[in-house]
Symmetry: D2
Subunit: 343 residues, 4 copies
Amino acid sequence: MIKTGIVGGTGYTGVELLRLLAAHPAADLAVITSRGEKGLPVSQLFPNLRGRVDLAFVEPDDAVLKTCDVVFFATPNGTAMKSVPMLLEAGVKVIDLAADFRLRRVEDWEQWYGMPHTCPELLAEAVYGLPEVNREAIRTARLVANPGCYPTAVQLGFLPLLQAGVVDPCSLIADVKSGVSGAGRKAEVGILLCEAGDNFKAYGVPGHRHLPEIRQGLAAIADSAVNLVFVPHLTPMIRGIHATLYATLTHPDADLQTLFEHRYATEPFVDVLPPKSHPETRSVRGANQCRMAVHRPQNGKTVVVLSVIDNLVKGAAGQAVQNMNLMFDLPEMTGLGQIALLP
Amino acid sequence: MIKTGIVGGTGYTGVELLRLLAAHPAADLAVITSRGEKGLPVSQLFPNLRGRVDLAFVEPDDAVLKTCDVVFFATPNGTAMKSVPMLLEAGVKVIDLAADFRLRRVEDWEQWYGMPHTCPELLAEAVYGLPEVNREAIRTARLVANPGCYPTAVQLGFLPLLQAGVVDPCSLIADVKSGVSGAGRKAEVGILLCEAGDNFKAYGVPGHRHLPEIRQGLAAIADSAVNLVFVPHLTPMIRGIHATLYATLTHPDADLQTLFEHRYATEPFVDVLPPKSHPETRSVRGANQCRMAVHRPQNGKTVVVLSVIDNLVKGAAGQAVQNMNLMFDLPEMTGLGQIALLP
Amino acid sequence: MIKTGIVGGTGYTGVELLRLLAAHPAADLAVITSRGEKGLPVSQLFPNLRGRVDLAFVEPDDAVLKTCDVVFFATPNGTAMKSVPMLLEAGVKVIDLAADFRLRRVEDWEQWYGMPHTCPELLAEAVYGLPEVNREAIRTARLVANPGCYPTAVQLGFLPLLQAGVVDPCSLIADVKSGVSGAGRKAEVGILLCEAGDNFKAYGVPGHRHLPEIRQGLAAIADSAVNLVFVPHLTPMIRGIHATLYATLTHPDADLQTLFEHRYATEPFVDVLPPKSHPETRSVRGANQCRMAVHRPQNGKTVVVLSVIDNLVKGAAGQAVQNMNLMFDLPEMTGLGQIALLP
Amino acid sequence: MIKTGIVGGTGYTGVELLRLLAAHPAADLAVITSRGEKGLPVSQLFPNLRGRVDLAFVEPDDAVLKTCDVVFFATPNGTAMKSVPMLLEAGVKVIDLAADFRLRRVEDWEQWYGMPHTCPELLAEAVYGLPEVNREAIRTARLVANPGCYPTAVQLGFLPLLQAGVVDPCSLIADVKSGVSGAGRKAEVGILLCEAGDNFKAYGVPGHRHLPEIRQGLAAIADSAVNLVFVPHLTPMIRGIHATLYATLTHPDADLQTLFEHRYATEPFVDVLPPKSHPETRSVRGANQCRMAVHRPQNGKTVVVLSVIDNLVKGAAGQAVQNMNLMFDLPEMTGLGQIALLP
């Protein structure tokens, strides 16, 4: 059994990690920390876990975390970087679900996250945890930077096009819609049911923190500079991301459907739908899946890719467990067989 | 492996049965029928099942169904009764998720369902599939009448009070709220998002078909006549039932919390919350659970029980699988370990 | 023109008051205060008011408020009582949308609201602003205590029964469901879209602050002590309250439909539906209306009344404007002709 | 008073027309027809109209319609064209809320709508009812083709850019999200609360009927051919359209904010928000408003316009009333002063 710890488990990625790890046949959930809720039984905060998780939140404690085989950070940005060096030193593997190790250039990180990075020397070592791109590196990583939710949906959608070189990498537009759980479990007026419900809006159009992460990932995939317009939106539902992606075709005779099907033929968690399909977010609700479809409207110069994930699963906790499986040499699908809840 | 068939799998109880049986370690999903959708791959209608269920819908066919160990009917009322005698004859066990075998008195059934019953002789044999009441009878049943969603939530909530004889059985009120999936997957204006969304209403106050079913069950539990006012409501959410139950205390010194905890201490799927709790429907979303709390406001003469289930799981497909487990002598929790999806 | 001021206009009752007063032909919106948002244009916080309300929030200032003809308090409980004596002294009429003047007995108020009352001498003078009960007193009042949302829906529903004396006043049960806007525009986790959405729960069953207010109102109507069980619930929608009311009939031959129709025949804002109806909350969304229906299921001993309002209109801001109209001798419907938004 | 008739008033544009006309000071609602619901009081189908609309639906009857000053068609496509010639002949003005007269070229119409056009000679006369483009022509029109909901949001957003000639007209992308009421009040499984709720998806990517309408309008505005990719999506809310529009700048030094503000400075129903704004659909819920913002992310080559309307008001019934006001020489805002309902 893999002894696992979770730092900061009171948010939505935290409870989702708990749901997945509690049912994982090879994981032993040893400790979960929270400064604010220490002493509180986990199942009191999250009643869906009653009878399944008996732990209580404890004060973060290095000594205990050091006894784990792997520690997940489900903390605000800037928290993991303070403890990670100590854990790696102690031989503990780390999967950070926040952004601390996602960007390679420390200047970029400090600009977008507005604070100094306390262990920039680890940025080069950290492996970006998108298994469809970095599977082999993840297997041997000590430190995995789990991708953001938007970046997962966007990168998986553009990946076949950029790898095959059939679109102009300077023509990319990502119009992405997220359920409200992407904003976290925070006491903020803007995500109240009465504010975000029965309402639709864009936000962060001038610049969103996931932009540099996506751009970095796409540039690595394309092996060239890319130009990306990224417009996130808030849609009145709980879970799910729908990315609608646009790119200008440079090879108009490319067989796009075949391209996508071949690229993902052996991927356990990416599902390419038949031609003319429209994936729905609910088809992945609660499941570690990305489903997508590729279109070329009116046979024109623009490719349209539709890509959906559950932001809390393939966009966060599920992908983290997928990474753990790889890091501990388990079958990649272990504990990730949940079928999406529909309706 | 248990060879299972599903008749009429295009509704919400059908897709939920498929979700549960596809992940059940002892069930082999052999056939699923639908007149309207024959030939259609199941995963095309329900994309959450892509990669998990490879069957296509087939025309109902007695010869095939007779080769099953158990057949589930997820059909409109009045359909199962036409095939059940033939299947029992062939040695196939049957679990009917519709209402055909729920009422003991054929007069009641014909009055409430508005059609003649074609095999009234089976009404006495059919076992009402509420394991918390009829577990032993279910184990040996050939034919199980799976309870309705409202009746499950209401009976489990009143059960400890009536069995202990601490309330007046003629004082019962069940004010119950259902998510819209309880109305099924039917093309009807009243359950459109634009009609049922952002809206709340009662319906069926003059008389709802679940009334005689609940009354029959409560009378059996109380071993006396009962008087029940039953008011169902439609609430703008997909899954979930919340029953708010009222009864007049006849034994004011009863320790209600202890009564409930003792009654359900060994029940794997009923969870009594601590005093002063308010169960949420989302705490059972997708899970085969009933969670409940008991209150006595202002220490008055009225007991208030709050009881929640997922209408498609403990209120339909999950309970059906629980019954299958009992009928085939499997551990009762087999294949029913899903943790509720929260948020 | 009536010069109106609003104290504390950043919540949902505040923006609703603004919507109604901005379109009111006899009201001149002179000042709106907010400590937290002073300087902010109102239409920046509430973009629906762009082009319709040009005011900015200002620091609360007695001198300015004293120049108004009427001041509305849309503040947290305990705020209005600090300024009301000064305003009355200055000849300004006051309508308090919070609870400061709703209870007659200061002991009750201090028990349920957990703070000392600073002007208990005004509790006797304050008129409870339910026009269907207190119309004449409101016309001449200096200080109106605008009813709570639950109390409005519940009292209007029980009123014909209690006034006619056809039910046992000690048998009352109010099972009430509220949209989330009833909880206000506050940064609280429990009312996030991801917590309150797609979910249903009861709350406050051991005791809710609206209980003494309702009990006091019903006792006055019945002219006798009443016994009331009050169970509020949160339903995943924005606006609307649905009260399901139960009482034991003492006069089984009462013609309930006629009783209700007669009682409300001349009320401009109460609509009694035909027999066997089920009012929907959306039928009053955005409108100053209460719609109701009365049932007697299975011709039994229990009367069931269904009563719906928009909690922000007839349950708050609309009723406040109705009271203002009465206090300033305007036709009662002035500025309250909005038709409910459906769908 | 203008004597008005409505043909086909049982859908959502019908009930919204009724809401607006019932409160319009110069309109006399004389007749409303429906084959399916003849005899039914309008307020029984739409209880929000109880006490405000006393009409019942009647069988369509040319003689009665001919006595009207104006007739609105809120019918399925292909219905209005059968009666319009007769009405025009009789001197009745017509506003068609369906698509019968929106496309200029009969070949386009017959291709996209799949039926022969019965009065193609009227296509040239019909005026496209987008007042911000065609105000003067509308004033003198006998027959107005009221624009579709998507076309209104998209054309108003691109209009300033194309008229000023600052973007490449062959680079246009419209990623548009609609609430479910845009699909109408029809008994269809796909728009049930349990299908469309808590879900997000694109649809019609290979080709949607609003594409030729938008393309025709934009080409007229740009006075050149345009190339447009149009991707509609369904978002889980009732009312509202959010258009996210992309175009490639050809004049990088254009002052976009000023361009938009100038273009719409005198438009009563178009509101340009300050720089860096993100309009919300709820800010126009129930109101005849379009609100928009213009962005240039990272100061790059792509302009992003965000444009929101209520699909049933500025996208249908409200715009129809605006057109009626113009056709009858009334002040354009008459009867259209509703403030959006927020929350």
